[in-house]
């Protein structure tokens, strides 16, 4: 691909008075609202997008609290009934010697969600400010958040699998606990939050800074 005008720093669509379509990568005159090529809504930049990021972020965080307090699974056997939270379940697994699986659950259900909340907040806060973190690094954070965030659903699927599989009449039965729903919603809301973030804003102002305007 040839760069337009061969300018250094990079010329953006916005600088050229154009708006880029984030669905099909075509350029249109500024002010175009719907991409004539693919039909997607186009916007040069949207300050409102940050509000959506924060709204989904908060909804995700609110759901993440009950997801950790309430039981994820309720196991009923002949002798006793027990329920386990996300962290409790992982601790049980580790106590039984299944360290690998305990680690997968902990990473998918605790490390990734918490990492996501922190990363999205960091990205949203750094927009429009002079950040000490390079745009390349912040772009990398956004890519990782978008790529890895969905893997948190693994714990919800495990609950669904176990509760449909372990239905052995009197011998043993597993039921999903209320935390499973809260956790699923939390993952969905944080995915929506990450998608609402406009990564082009990471790069805005960079050129101005380089050129000494800021």
């Amino acid at each position: 691909m040839e760069r337009v005008g061969f300018t250094d720093p990079v010329l953006t669509a916005r600088d050229a008075g154009l708006v880029g379509c984030r669905s099909c990568a075509r350029a249109w005159p500024m002010g175009t609202e719907v991409c004539p090529n693919c039909g997607a809504r186009v916007q040069s930049r949207s300050r409102r997008s940050l509000q959506r990021v924060w709204a989904w972020w908060l909804a995700g965080l609110i759901c993440y609290v009950p997801a950790n307090i309430y039981p994820m699974l309720e196991t009923r056997t002949l002798v006793h009934t027990e329920s386990a939270t996300i962290v409790g379940g992982a601790v049980d697994l580790a106590a039984h010697g299944a360290y690998g699986i305990a680690l997968i659950i902990l990473v998918a259900s605790v490390v990734i969600p918490v990492g996501k909340f922190v990363s999205i907040a960091f990205l949203a806060l750094s927009v429009g400010r002079i950040s000490r973190t390079s745009p390349e690094a912040r772009h990398g954070v956004h890519e990782i958040v978008e790529y890895i965030g969905r893997w948190s659903m693994i714990d919800v699927f495990v609950v669904a699998i176990l509760s449909s599989l372990v239905q052995l009449n009197a011998v043993a039965a597993i039921q999903p606990g209320p935390a499973s729903l809260a956790f699923a919603l939390s993952v969905i809301f944080t995915m929506l939050s990450a998608q609402a973030f406009d990564p082009r804003m990471i790069w805005d102002g960079i050129e101005d800074q380089k050129a000494g305007h800021l």
Partner: protein, 209 residues
């Protein structure tokens, strides 16, 4: 300064807004954004045929993965095998309905819909026919659904579940587990072949919307 009168010649990086003039990359070459390294275009020869073939195989596997059991459990003479459809019977009441719908959509409905849309968009190109009506909207939706198709995550979930209850009961993988495993590989290969820039180009050169 910049000739923006011919917008057809321009391509914008969807991640960082950098503007480029299109120069058709050689087959097999990859055009990457100089600033954020997002792949802008990666055309391949015969990609449409390969992608459609993979998509058809994927659709068949999705149907199989839904009806065959993915895990089988046996403890003290009592046995049970669960398929994805069993998940919906197992807890289809109260607040869990939401959970069932979300799970079913992410592991079956959305992957199937996405695959069907891709076939709808690309199949005409194989036989040199004009694109079908609504092809652009179909491809746009297919792209937007991508993060929500989670069949591969479910496959890993099966493996985790097996280990989780392995010391309580005898658990074995059913045919659907292997279908999900193959499905995962097919989806990854399909995404490697897919160059959305080439598809949009093909769609733009064909139908006047």
């Amino acid at each position: 300064m910049v000739d923006t009168s011919r917008l057809d010649d321009l391509i914008v990086c969807t991640e960082c807004d950098a503007l480029y003039r299109v120069r058709q990359p050689e087959r097999g070459q990859v055009a990457v954004c100089a600033r954020c390294h997002t792949v802008l275009a990666a055309p391949r020869a015969k990609a449409a045929l390969q992608i459609v073939a993979l998509a058809v195989a994927t659709l068949i596997l999705i149907v199989g993965a839904a009806v065959f059991p993915f895990l089988r459990i046996e403890v003290g003479g009592v046995a049970n095998a669960a398929s994805v459809l069993d998940i919906s019977y197992a807890f289809f009441d109260g607040f869990l309905t939401v959970l069932v719908i979300a799970t079913m959509s992410m592991i079956l409905a959305i992957p199937a819909l996405r695959t069907g849309l891709i076939i709808y968009v690309l199949a005409p190109f194989i036989v040199d026919k004009p694109a079908l009506p609504g092809a652009r909207a179909a491809f746009r939706v297919a792209q937007q659904l991508r993060p929500w198709a989670m069949a591969e995550i479910f496959a890993i979930g099966c493996a985790v579940s097996l280990v989780k209850i392995a010391d309580l009961a005898q658990v074995t993988f059913g045919p659907a587990f292997w279908m999900f495993a193959v499905l995962t590989v097919l989806i990854v290969i399909q995404q490697k072949f897919m160059c959305s820039w080439s598809v949009w180009n093909a769609l733009a050169s064909q139908t006047p919307s």
